[in-house]
């Protein structure tokens, strides 16, 4: 790799060729403010706050989108630059509502932080704040165009990372809006509810639908038995809201905090991730060994992916695993098996999930199959962000909480369940148990390295006693197309499918970087959260789903066997082709 010698504020530095001034300055320990830039996205120099000087040149350049040139000295801050940046902030604030105290992004807003850092005390321009209606049409996210600063991150992430194209710049000049096209609201658009727009929005223009009041009300309601489940990815990100490092495993503290809020039972979605493996793994064995059903089998845990598939690849419905997602399985067993065990009428149970994901709010009400217990299997979904706000409201000293255990009998989990939260994890967990289901022998090394890591598409072969199982893993919705088009092409030509089993997660890195996770998710944070989940896996007493004693118990006491009639009723679903534009 060729390198170039440059200077940042007079200090000599050698960086790889093609490095942006912004990144070079970071390497030199100099912070340049940014607003439209995000490390997940291509820089496109919209806001102008990252301007720097090149020594000897009369004009300033934007650090995010300008690559370094050998021999140049970049000045990242001086009174003149400071004044220009201040003006950029003042102009942005001129048409921004000053509602910080009641805004969803109070204290997490990047614009608010910049205004504080640059000491803005007044805005020397005419205030031109527009009042525009919110789009609250989806169950997952809210668009508030009055707060939008038109940085374009949401459209970029929706188009580049997710290839969904629900959001676009519509109109021109003052009237420009980031919104769905063709005159529809978000819920009628191609939106898959992944919430990556809300995770990337620097201000309060796109945010998760806040439903924390509903949990408070349920806790206050004496007649309700509030049962909560928590998804795998939540445990390695939750602490961030309380100043802890990304990747710190806070499972026991979250259980404890939930009990401090006053919920009646705390379960873990990792248990139902193990249950998913038993069902989905058995389904794969049926397809692969017994030839019943189409190959490849596609995973169905991710509701944003499910929505995408129903809209863009409905021809793949026969390939989709009929297994519900862990969230919906957990809800179903809470209101059937657990209710029966405890002698509680399921109508009195209020089933809540804590999820890293905004699409889970939509999944809860996808269709009638989500009421397999006779009631809504999940009554409420809160994102990681919402729960962390609630814990703060309740004055719980999260960092110093003692660790507690989950309730039984649907709370215990294995390492296979916990890695559901990372790209490749569902595949790895499935292989660990499929090996056993096919051979009745245990895998000697349960670490499936081929499916780990941050490559957008990972391809591998798993040797099951001489039989090769070809697997593919894709994450970040835009990476799915290449894999599925390969499958489609083989099908059209009447060839063998290129893969037997494909895992898809809509978000880059998997659920650890879901649209409902704490703000500030970039690749370094993703890596730390991922390391946290693999650590949780390695520290687990059991690392294969079929070893979970509570899994053995639920099949013995209640479900019978994987793919039994009862399992099918409670734990499986079906899919429907849907138009990309609902209107």
């Amino acid at each position: 790799m060729s390198t170039v010698d440059i200077k940042v504020n007079g200090r000599a530095l050698t960086v790889p060729a093609g490095t942006s001034i912004l990144k070079a300055a970071k390497l030199a320990g100099c912070k340049i403010p940014t607003l439209c830039y995000h490390s997940d996205l291509e820089p496109w120099a919209a806001c102008g706050i990252c301007v720097v000087k090149v020594e000897g040149s009369p004009r300033m350049v934007r650090a995010c989108a300008t690559m370094v040139t050998a021999g140049q000295n970049y000045i990242t801050d001086d009174p003149e630059i400071h004044q220009i940046r201040k003006t950029v902030i003042e102009m942005t604030l001129a048409d921004h509502p000053q509602e910080c105290l009641t805004c969803a992004r109070n204290q997490t807003c990047e614009l608010q932080r910049l205004a504080a850092e640059y000491g803005i005390r007044e805005i020397p321009f005419d205030r031109r704040v527009k009042r525009l209606p919110k789009d609250e049409s989806t169950p997952s996210i809210v668009l508030d165009p009055s707060k939008c600063i038109q940085c374009g991150r949401c459209a970029q992430v929706c188009q580049q990372l997710q290839d969904v194209w629900a959001l676009e710049f519509i109109g021109r000049g003052e009237k420009t809006r980031l919104m769905p096209s063709a005159g529809v609201v978000l819920n009628e658009s191609p939106c898959i509810k992944c919430g990556q727009c809300s995770a990337h929005c620097p201000v309060g223009a796109i945010y998760e639908k806040d439903e924390t009041d509903l949990l408070m009300n349920a806790i206050l309601d004496e007649t309700k038995h509030v049962a909560v489940q928590m998804a795998p990815a939540v445990r390695v990100a939750f602490g961030e809201a309380f100043g802890m490092e990304p990747g710190e495993i806070t499972t026991g503290k979250i259980y404890a905090a939930l009990r401090r809020l006053g919920v009646d039972a705390v379960f873990d979605t990792n248990f139902s991730a193990d249950l998913t493996i038993m069902e989905e793994g058995s389904e794969f064995v049926e397809r692969f060994v017994n030839g019943k059903g189409e190959l490849p089998q596609l995973t169905s845990c991710c509701p944003a992916w499910t929505d995408y598939m129903e809209k863009y690849y409905p021809d793949m419905i026969p390939n989709f695993s009929t297994a519900k997602s862990p969230q919906m399985m957990q809800g179903a067993v809470i209101k059937s098996y657990y209710a029966k065990n405890k002698g509680i009428d399921p109508k009195d149970i209020y089933s809540v999930s804590i999820m890293p994901c905004t699409a889970k709010k939509f999944e809860r009400v996808r269709d009638e199959n989500m009421k397999s217990s006779g009631y809504s299997d999940v009554d409420l979904v809160l994102t990681t962000r919402e729960l962390s706000r609630m814990i703060k409201t309740f004055g719980v000293d999260f960092v110093n909480l003692p660790e507690e255990d989950a309730d039984s009998p649907v709370g215990k989990y294995t390492g296979a369940g916990t890695i559901f939260g990372v790209t490749g994890g569902v595949m790895e967990a499935a292989v660990r148990s499929a090996y056993y289901l096919i051979t009745k022998e245990e895998l000697s090394n349960v670490n499936i390295e081929a499916v780990r890591g941050m490559d957008g598409v990972k391809v591998g072969e798993v040797d099951i006693k001489g039989t090769k199982v070809k697997v593919a893993v894709a994450h970040g919705m835009a990476n799915v197309k290449a894999v599925l088009d390969e499958v489609r092409e083989a099908k059209e030509k009447g060839l063998e499918p290129p893969y037997h089993f494909i895992e898809v997660m809509a978000c880059r890195g998997g659920c650890i970087a879901g649209g409902g996770q704490p703000y500030g998710t970039e690749d370094d944070v993703r890596e730390k959260r991922i390391a946290g989940l693999y650590k949780d896996d390695e520290q687990s007493e059991f690392r294969c789903s079929h070893h979970n004693p509570e899994i053995t118990q639920i099949y013995k006491d209640y479900l019978g066997a994987p793919l039994s009639e009862k399992s099918h009723h409670l734990l499986h679903t079906h899919y429907t082709p849907r138009p990309v534009y609902q209107k």
């Binding site: 188009q159 194209w165 629900a166 959001l167 676009e168 710049f169 519509i170 109109g171 021109r172 769905p180 096209s181 063709a182 005159g183 191609p190 809209k311 863009y312 690849y313 409905p314 021809d315 489609r488 082709p577 849907r578 138009p579 990309v580 534009y581």
Partner: protein, 162 residues
């Protein structure tokens, strides 16, 4: 491959072969949209959907383009679209007065259509004959050095044609 039913709109043979010809070329979207507007007088939603399918381009991208350029219209104009020039010369010579008077006479605003579908008013930038300022174009016919007093007669003539 999505389930969207075929859009309920017919393109002429010429338009279809134009799209076929331009499909592999870079910059095809704007060329195609120009032709679509030429054919329909505006870009009907169904046509945008059809173009999206024919060019394999997201509908959002098409709307990004047609809402960015003033030239593209999302609503069906009147049978006689009255384009009043608001370029610098025409503006100085009273283009705005023409628009105001036209709005009074027809009872509609700019970018609106009369109830009978006959007239619409559009404010356009320089049409390239500043010597005739203020200029107005109706259905391709150019009117130069127009005064407010002439407007009722111009409208009446078109109304007679129906």
């Amino acid at each position: 491959m999505a389930v969207d039913t075929a859009p309920q709109i017919e393109f002429s043979k010429e338009l279809e072969s134009f799209i076929e010809e331009w499909k592999p070329k870079p910059g095809n979207l704007i060329m195609v949209l120009h032709r679509v507007q030429e054919e329909f007088g505006y870009i009907p939603r169904e046509a945008a959907i059809k173009v999206s399918q024919l060019l394999d381009t997201p509908l959002a991208k098409i709307y990004g383009v047609i809402t960015f350029y003033h030239f593209f219209k999302l609503d069906k104009p009147g049978k006689y679209n009255i384009q009043v020039c608001m370029g610098t010369a025409c503006y100085l010579k009273g283009g705005e007065d023409l628009i105001n008077e036209m709005e009074n006479l027809l009872g509609i605003g700019v970018n609106e259509v009369t109830d009978d579908g006959l007239f619409s008013i559009e404010s356009v930038r320089c049409v390239g004959c500043c010597g005739l300022a203020p200029v107005m174009i109706v259905d391709g016919e150019v009117f130069g050095k127009v005064t407010k007093d002439e407007l009722p007669e111009i409208i009446a003539n078109y109304r007679k044609q129906g």
